[in-house]
Each structure stands twice: as C-alpha cells, then as structure tokens.
Symmetry: C2
Subunit: 674 residues, 2 copies
C-alpha cells in the first residue's frame, strides 16, 4: 500500500497530556489522556513494548478484580513458570498418589459385587485380587517399555496420535478426559467416605462436603498449585507408612503375635444373585480400578532428574510393587477378618477398627487415606487441563483451553473440570459404588491404545532394528488390556458403563466438528501472496457513509463530523416512530445548513432497527460502492446503571448490522459527565 500523497496532509493540533482543547469538537475534553509515563508500557526497542499488569477502571471491574486477587493471588508472568526436576523419592510421591489412592476402595468394590452371591462367594476375593496384581504387573512392565521409547514423556494422546493416527488419538483423548472427571469424582467421594467413616455425624452432608472439596481444589488449581514434590511427599508417604503399619498389625493379629483383633459386627446380606462367571468378572472389573493412574509416571518422564528415563523406570517399578503389595495385603486381611462392605463405613476403616479400635492410630489411617485421595483428585486437576491444552493446540477443543490465566494455570480446563465433576458427584450422591461402574472403562481403553501404539512404534523401527522383546511385552500388554476393556465394558454396561461408552464417540464427534470448523475458518482467512501483491496499490478514499440520527445534538453532530472526515458522500438517516417530533428535527436540520442530505424513513409500525437496516442496505445499493461505513453516534453514561435509562439503540443497531455484509460499523462515543 502506497501512502497517501503528501499534499493531502495538514498539520494537526498537538495535544499535551491533560490538556483541554476547547472548541475542537463541541464538548470535547482531553482530561483523561494519561501522561505517557503513567501508561503500563515499558519501551523495549523500536516499536516494541512490554506490558505491565493492568487493572480495570470501572467500579464493577475493580470489585471483580479485587475478589479475583483475593481468591487466586497476584498475576504471574510467563517467565515465572517453574520447572522443578524431581528426585525418585519425590517423583514417586507426585506421580503415584492417583494409583496408590485406589487401594482405599478397590478391595471394597470387589467384595461389594461378590457379596451379592452371599458369603459363599467370599473366597473368590483372593483369586480376583491375584488377577488384578498380575494385570498390574503386565501394565507396569509394558509402560517401562513406553518410557524407554518416549524419554520426553509419552502421554497417551500423543503416543497414540503418533503411531495409530488422529482418530485413535482422539478416542484415547476422549477416554482420558472422561476418566479424569471420574478420578476427581471417585477420589473425592472416597475421601469424604474416609472422613465420614471416622465422624459418623457428617454422613448426611457428604454431597455438600464433596462439592466443597471440589470447589476448593478448583480454586487452589486456579491459584496454580505446583506439583511440588515436597507438598506431595508428606501425605503420600504418610499413607504408604500407615498402610504398611496397618498390614503389619494385621499380620501380627492373624499369627497371634500379641495383637487381639476386635471383630467389627457386620451382617452379611442375603444373597440375591447366583455365583456366575459373569459376577466374578464383574467383581474383577470393579477391582481393576486399582490400576487407574499407573500411566502417570510414563506421562511425566521429563520432570525426572537425569537420567530421566532410567529414573522413571525405577520409580514405576517401585510404584507397582507398593501398589500391588498394599492392595493384596488389604484384600487378604479383609478376607481373613470377614469384613463386609457397608454403606456407612469404608472397608479400610473397618479393618483399622478391627485392629486398632480406640487408638489414635485409627484416626491417623483415616486422615492419611483422605489425604492421598484428595491428592489423587488434585492430580486430575493438573492432567485434564493439560490434555485439554494439547487438544486445543491441535484445534480439537475451543481456543479458550489454550489460554493460561493470571497464575499460569489453564483456567478454562480447571473450571470445566470443577463444574462437570460437581454435577456428576451431585447426580451420583457422592457414592463411590455408584461411580465405580463408570470408571476404568476409559482408563483401560487408553491403556490398550497406548500399548498398541507401542507395538506399532517398535515395528516401525524397520527390519533388523526391531527390539522383539519390547514388542512382545507391549503386545502382551495390549492384548491383556484389550481383553480387560471388553470385560469391564460388558460386565459394567448396564450399571453405568454405557454412559461412558456412549460419551466417548460423542466427544470424538464433537472434537472432529470443532476441528473442521477451525480448519474451515483458517482456509477462508488464509491470505495468498498473490492477494497481498494485488493490494499493494493506492487505496481509494472511503466513498460513502451513513449516519443514523435520532435528533440533532452534540453526539449526532460529532458523528456527522467524523463521517465527513472519512467519506466523500455522507447521508444522514432518521427513522420516525413519533411523526409529531419530526418537524422539530427537520427545522433544526435546515437551519444548521450542514450540506448533508437527510433521509427520513417513516415507521408506521414503530420499528426502529429493521427500517434502519433496510435504508442502510438501500443506500449501499444506490451508492454502488464496495464498502459503506455506518457511523453511529453513541452516548456513554458516566455510571453503568444510567444505561437503564437509555434505550441502547446503538447497541441493538450494531447487533443487527453484524449480519449485513460489506459494512464497516463505527461507533463515535460521546462521554457524558457525571
């Protein structure tokens, strides 16, 4: 674009900050022009500035800003993003809270299914527990292969997309998003159950407690809680230590080594189901929830101290051992002491009361259990928004999920997770056993896709370079988890898994539609070099402008002046809804001798916006110019509530004109004094 010829330019009055320039425009004041030094901009080179944090200037904005600062703290700059490297001890705490916390409910959920067939079915808990441990071993060994292949972090979505393609990647992503929601719901509900087992009187408030917990987690994550190893280490190791202590006491009681158990009075319900293979598989499916969260180490390899992959593999192995031993230990003791799941008290609480009733250690166990469960929920608050960010970056979710808030947290993802989970918890009454049937389908689907991706990954290394052992391990992992996925989907289908099985393709569909929209928009907006070159010539002055006016006052006069300054051909239009007032306007118009034609549209149906749009379209046609500019006089009241006293015609007109093509719509505001 060539600049306009110099003879057109004319000197313009130079304004000093705070200066008042009387008479330039009627009613003009420049008093709000701030001195350049007060603007929140620091120069950083030619045409480059660095912005400082700004605050809103209106009273409502300021109030909201103050509340926000109080809740989530001062803004953090992008440079302040922390990248802590974790030792193995801390990494175990950070990445295993989700997985380990499931020992708090996994055994209970197996028993809850078995007990339907009566105490006779009880013995099946041991083989089922063994099967879960075996499955855990297979998955852990498989993921150790993944870490080897993806030392930069093998998030399931990315690994699947890389190796199997976009569609399976989206299926994995949808499965994971669903499961993060369920992790929060199940962990919070189980954490509340641990609290209400110890303090019975809180039981009627469990939904409220769960929602308050989720709200606090949401706010804490908006503040940007770091996955700081130190913060995580205490509750995680407290849980591991207290559970091993409980298991040791249990073993001593079993062997009669000086500990006398106090059997909890439980009554087994009447059997309602026959002991079928299906029931056993359903119990196994419930128990497989113990494996959720095992993938976390593989996702987080870059956070380890070097050598990252090696340390991650070791940590994963340790996590598998601890998880397996805790889960199996609780299962064996629950079987030995004939614990029966109830609605009122968790199985871990029953076990603790059996062994250490009345001792303060009982409360330590409950507190540690609640602690690790809330930590597990918190993990999902980090994972969900991060996955949503990756999906938004690939344009499968709305842009909003890409945006890091004041505290560097992905605010949109955190808020969506908080809201959806709260609704789910309310819908399911904060009951773990009501949520469990929805859980684990997604996790195992993601496991299957991830392990299958690894098989493809190894295969693609090419003839002669394929590590057959790794390939075989991942193939076994993929096959096992695929079978388990089918078992879970089948056995839990009617109990709630159908929701997830419907939801995953639905989510994939929505993500594909979003992607298609964004790509479509990008295609339309893409500018070719040819187009740019074609436009590099003098630009004609805007030809025509239309100014809708209600009366001749300073605001409309200013708009007319502005229109004259940008266009050769200005027309004023007036829609008359009260014909009796037109004479005044016409008389004043003639007296003013503005040399601008005034077009009157009589509106017998007292419509304002429709006729305005019509006359603007008509003038556009008549002028025959590609563009027409609509210059709208606006007045801006000094206080927001004063807007109620004005009819907001400018706003309504702008909204209506948004649908008309090839218009530029200019608002010329007139600021009213207080």
């Amino acid at each position: 674009m060539t600049p306009i010829t110099p003879e057109e330019s004319e000197p313009s009055p130079q304004l000093a900050p705070g200066a008042t320039v009387p008479g330039t425009h009627p009613g003009d004041r420049y008093i709000r022009l701030v001195p350049a030094a007060d603007l929140p901009l620091k120069p950083a080179g030619k045409n480059v500035y660095i912005a400082e944090p700004t605050q809103p200037e209106d009273s409502i904005g300021r109030a909201w800003y103050a509340i926000k600062r109080l809740l989530i703290g001062r803004p953090l700059s992008t440079a302040e993003a922390a990248h802590e490297r974790l030792s193995k001890v801390k990494a175990l705490a950070v990445f295993s809270s989700d997985a380990l916390s499931s020992t708090a409910y996994a055994t209970e959920e197996i028993l809850r299914v078995l007990i339907l067939a009566g105490m006779a079915a009880y013995a099946f808990v041991l083989p089922i527990g063994l099967a879960v441990v075996l499955l855990l071993a297979i998955v852990v060994i498989s993921y150790r292969q993944t870490i080897r292949a993806y030392p930069r972090g093998g998030g399931t979505y990315i690994v699947t997309k890389d190796n199997l393609g976009a569609y399976p990647g989206l299926v994995a992503a949808a499965a994971l998003l669903t499961d993060y929601v369920l992790t929060v719901a199940v962990s919070t509900s189980a954490g509340v159950a641990a609290v209400t087992s110890a303090f019975e009187q809180l039981r009627p408030l469990r939904v409220e407690l769960a929602v308050v917990s989720i709200t606090l987690l949401t706010i804490a994550n908006l503040r940007g809680v770091r996955e700081s190893g130190t913060i995580f280490a205490l509750p995680t190791y407290a849980f591991i230590a207290s559970m091993y202590a409980l298991l040791a006491i249990g073993a001593a009681a079993w062997l009669g080594w000086g500990v006398t158990p106090h059997p909890v009075a439980t009554h087994a319900p009447e059997p309602t189901h026959a002991l079928t293979l299906f029931l056993v598989l359903r119990a196994f499916s419930s128990g497989s929830a113990a494996l959720t969260g095992v993938e976390a180490v593989a996702d987080g390899v870059p956070a380890f101290k070097p050598p990252e992959a090696q340390n991650a593999r070791t940590t994963l192995a340790w996590m598998g051992l601890i998880l397996g031993s805790l889960f199996f230990g609780i299962t064996v003791l629950a079987y030995h002491f004939h614990l029966v799941p109830t609605e009122e008290e968790t199985l871990v609480s029953q076990l603790a009361r059996t062994l250490v009733d009345g001792s303060p250690f009982y409360y330590v166990v409950q507190a540690a259990t609640a602690g690790i469960l809330f930590l597990a929920a918190n993990t999902a608050f980090a994972d969900f928004p991060r996955l949503a960010y990756f999906l938004a970056r690939d344009r499968f979710l709305p842009h909003q999920f890409r945006f890091q808030g004041d505290r560097l947290a992905f605010s949109a993802g955190i808020i969506v997770l908080g809201v959806v989970t709260s609704l789910l918890v309310i819908a399911r009454g904060a009951s773990v056993s009501a949520l469990i049937p929805l859980y684990a389908v997604g996790v195992f689907l993601a496991f299957t896709l991830s392990q299958s991706s690894m098989v493809v990954h190894w295969w693609r290394l090419g003839e002669g370079r394929r590590p057959w052992a790794s390939l075989a391990i991942n193939a076994v992992g993929a096959a096992t988890t695929a079978v388990v996925t089918l078992v879970i989907a089948t056995t839990k289908f009617v109990h709630g898994a159908w929701i997830v099985i419907l939801l995953i393709p639905l989510l994939v569909g929505v993500m594909l539609a979003i992607n298609q929209h964004y790509r479509h928009v990008a295609d339309q907006l893409r500018l070719s070099p040819v187009e740019i070159r074609r436009r590099r010539r003098p630009v004609p002055r805007t030809v025509a402008a239309v100014v809708p006016i209600a009366s001749l006052n300073r605001a409309s006069f200013r708009a007319l002046e502005y229109a004259r300054s940008i266009a050769r051909d200005v027309t004023a239009v007036h829609v008359s809804t009260e014909p009796e007032s037109d004479d005044v306007l016409l008389k004043r118009w003639q007296e003013a001798e503005l040399d601008i034609p005034l077009v009157i549209v009589e509106s017998p149906y007292r419509e304002l916006i429709g006729p305005l749009v019509a006359i603007i379209e008509k003038l556009h046609l008549e002028k025959g110019c590609p563009y027409i500019t609509v210059v709208i006089p606006e007045f801006v009241p000094a206080h927001w509530w004063e807007r109620l006293l004005h009819t907001q015609t400018a706003w309504r007109l702008k909204r209506a004109l948004a649908h008309v093509p090839d218009l530029a719509v200019t608002g010329v505001p007139y600021h009213l004094e207080e």
Copy 2:
C-alpha cells in the same frame, strides 16, 4: 460543512444486486445484497420512505418473532389506533367496572374489622355504611366540578401538576401508580375468591389462579385489548342486574313476601378487641375502598360522545347512585341475615346462598361478580401504562415507557404492572383482607390532591370570575378526602399502609432522580447555533488509525485496507501472549511489505485487552490528533453457536474502549461462509 474538493473523488465500481465482484477485496461476496424492490421500504417523496414490518433474519430471532406473533398477533400501524366515542350507556360500563366491583368486597372488609369486637359491634356496620355513602356523594359531586373545568380529561397527575406544581403532581402520580398495582392485586384476588366460593375444591390453587389471571390479562393487554364499550357492557350490566335482583330477593325475604331464606351456618369468633373509636374508624377505612375507581369518569371525558362534559357528568351521577345503592343494600342485608365473614367464602356468596341456595342463579351471581372484578383489574392495565407514558414523556420515568409496541400498547408499562402485581399477589397469598390495608391510602391521597387542585384552579380564574359554588364544593371534597386519607393512614398503618406511605416518597425520589439525569444529559447534548456555525468549514481527513491484529489473515488485511482508506497514518499493533508465535507474524509482515508500522506489545502476564488499550492511548498521545480511529477486524461466524469457539476479543476490546475518550471504534466484519 463544505464538501470535499471534487478532484479527490474517483469512480467506484457500480454494484448490481446479487453481483459478485471478484478480487475487490479478498473473499468478498455481495450475494446478500437484496434487490431494491425487495427492501421493506416504500418511496414517499424525495428522501422520504415508509417502512414495512420487518422480520429478523437469524433463526433465534425468527423463532422469538413467531412466538410473539402467536401470543400478541400481527403488528398494528400507528394509524390503526382506534378512537371510539362512547355513548352514556357504554361509558358507564367502561368507566365504572373498577368502582362497582368494589361492592364485591367493601362490606365484607368492614365486617371483618368490626367482628374483632364481637357480635355486639355488629350494628355499627349501618352507620359506617352510611358514612361511606355520604363520602361517595361528596366525591362524586366534587368530580362533577372537575369535569366541568377539564372537559378534555382531568387525569389526577395532569390536574395536580397544572395547579399545585410538579412535586404534588409527582406525589399524586406515585400514589396512583401504587394504587393501580393494588387494584389489579385486590380485584384479581377477589375475583378468584368469588370463583373458589362457588367451587371449594379450587381453594388451594388460589395463588396460582390469581397469577394465571394476571398473566392472561398481561398478554391480552399486550395484544392491545381496546376499552371497547361492547366488550365491557355485558359483564358490567350483568353484574348490576344480578346484584339488584339479589337485593330485591333479599328485600322480599326480609318482608316475608314469599321468599324463605336459608340462613348460612356461621359462628361468630370470640371477640379479641374492645369496641373503640379507633376500631370503628379502621372499619370505615376498610369500607372506603368502595370509592376506588370513582375518578375514572373524570379522566376519560374525551372518550364520550359530544357534548362530552355534560354526558360525563350525567354518567358520573348514575355511577354514584348505582354504586351507593348496591353497596348500602348489600350492607343492610348482611346485617339483617347476620352474615359473618370467613376465610373460605365471600360475603356476597354467603348472601346469595342464604337467598337462592341450590338455584342456578347463585352461579350467575358468582360468575357476574368474578367477571366485573377481572374487568376492574383490566382497567388498571389500561391506566397504569398510560400514566407511565405521561410520566416518561415528562422525563420522570425511563424512555422505555413511551414506546408503543407492535400492537400500539405501552408494552413496558403492561409488563412491569404484570410482574409487580404477580409478586405482590404471591407475597400476600392472594388474600383480599391481607391486601386491603395497603389499598385506598393512595386513592384518597390522589383524591385530596385532585380536589385541592380544583380549589386552586377556580381561585386562579381571578377576582370577580370565581365560581364560588364550585370552589366551595371542591373545598369540601378536598377537606373531607384529606381527613379520610389521614384516618386511613392512621388506622391501617401497622396493618400494611406503612408500606405505601414509605413507597410513595421513595417513588417520587426515584422519579426526580431520573428527571435530573435526563435533564443533565439533554444539557450536555444541546447544540448551540454558535457551535454549528463554527463547524461549517472543511473537515480535515481523519489523521490516525490503529489496527489491532492477532495474525495476518484476510480479516485483518481487510481491516488494514479499510484503515488506509480513511486515515493517513495507520499503525498496526499486536499484543504477544505466546512469544513463540511472534516470529511467524513478523516474517509474514515483512514479506507482505505493507508499508505500515507494526508495534509489538509483549504481555508477560498474558493480558490482551489491558495492553491493547494502553498502546492505543499511547499512540493517540504520540500522534497528537484530536481523534484516533481504532479499526477492529472481526469475523462473524455463520452460526451463533460457532461464536463459542472464538474468544470474542473484538467484543471485549470494544467494551474496554467504551471508557476511553475521543476514539472512534470501527468494526470491519469478515463474514465466514457456512
């Protein structure tokens, strides 16, 4: 303003409707330009058009339009406003429904107070009834003087404003607005009571029935129900006839002329109050509700056939006679048959059952009573919006009350009345006796102000021309109604009148504040001839424009082009929240060789709007021009829900810029295809 010199103009491509002009702007389409013949505009002289009704073009707008048409019918043009002239017979029906309907509850409310002192106090109903009739006579005679003085309609607000000044006028207006709300609430509740007296099983639904009735009245009035004499005549005369018939049967029963009364089993409650003067006055206050609506004839003089004033005076006299005789007749019979008010059944229903139990005539009486009561509520639906219109015209209420909707009804007033009344009915459980203490204070305050105005009016006619008789009559009227106002305010104060006594000054205060705002705005906007003359000189071309861009695409390119076409000095600004993506933009910017400087603002706190506003203010300072134009590229998705996928930066920026003075803000839309 002198037009721009001709050498600047250049031929612009002429567009035919529906034409596509390839390459003028990248991605331009003119396909939505409708042929001129299809625009809803009829030419009516040079630069004058008449608009036809338009329909919204988007799907939500169309759906809403369809619902609106279904509920309130096709739009009416201003010329279709009907101005029916009423005969005396029809006028009596139209203007007296409110006043006559109060006979349905006035006696009952007197007895309800007296009965507190036991059956011994019962005999006081007759002198109280006489006092009410006497008061009625005074008010009717006074208003006959008003009609003589204001043959064009003596609405209380206008009469008071003319003679006593603006403040008393506003007090009268506030009192009337309050009372119109109470007329709807009391009449609807009493109408529902008439229905539930006949059909006991509907009693639990009375609040719902009242709210449904008010909603139907609201919709009917939005449709623009005319005060058609014919529609009003049937229920009003049916009520008058059936009540006189009931009174005649009652007289026959009393005198033993062949009618055997069936006394209703009622049990007088234990007395809880002593029979004090205060209690008697309180009973009188309740009974004075019979006078509400008497002013209607004087307000509506112009609707009478000529000679208007004479006909109106005759009609008012007839209305007074009918109202007085019905009220006193019911009172005497209620006393004779020892009827005791209950919560379950109205007094009129008891009287009818006593005299004609089991006969179909009982249901005729109940239906006629309910009919006239709903008609009375409907009267307030005409009066309230009309008074609100006058107040809005005088700038004491928001502009919105001036606007006549599609059906020529004052929509805002109707909707406000419907909502406020519904809330009141819900709050007071649709109980007449709970509403009565709030009622009548406002009416008698308005009576007093209106009559006092008349005294001033006659006095102002000047020495020697004063009609002393009229002056004396209005003075007696004013004094009497003033005393009654005080009695009502005192005796009903604790029972609810305090609400109205607080509300009236509050409303006056709000109306004064609104008036001050509008006058303040008008003062600021007023354009002096000097200002107009000073501006009648060549307008300098807009000097500087700023274009905020996120990337270089067709939408931002179009905005840059537009900016070049209106301004000499264009600057593009980019706020960088993700520094990694800046290199792409800078590279593309240099390649495009646009000859427009690009200013980068790095935003380490990832804020977008604040830094944009700051850099715009900074450029405004640097350019030193009185005006700066911000040209915002917008893209408009094809479907509303697609907006959720874009971050609406343009909208947020416009909102923030509304607070910055001396900017023109232009949106250059880019319409996306489906």
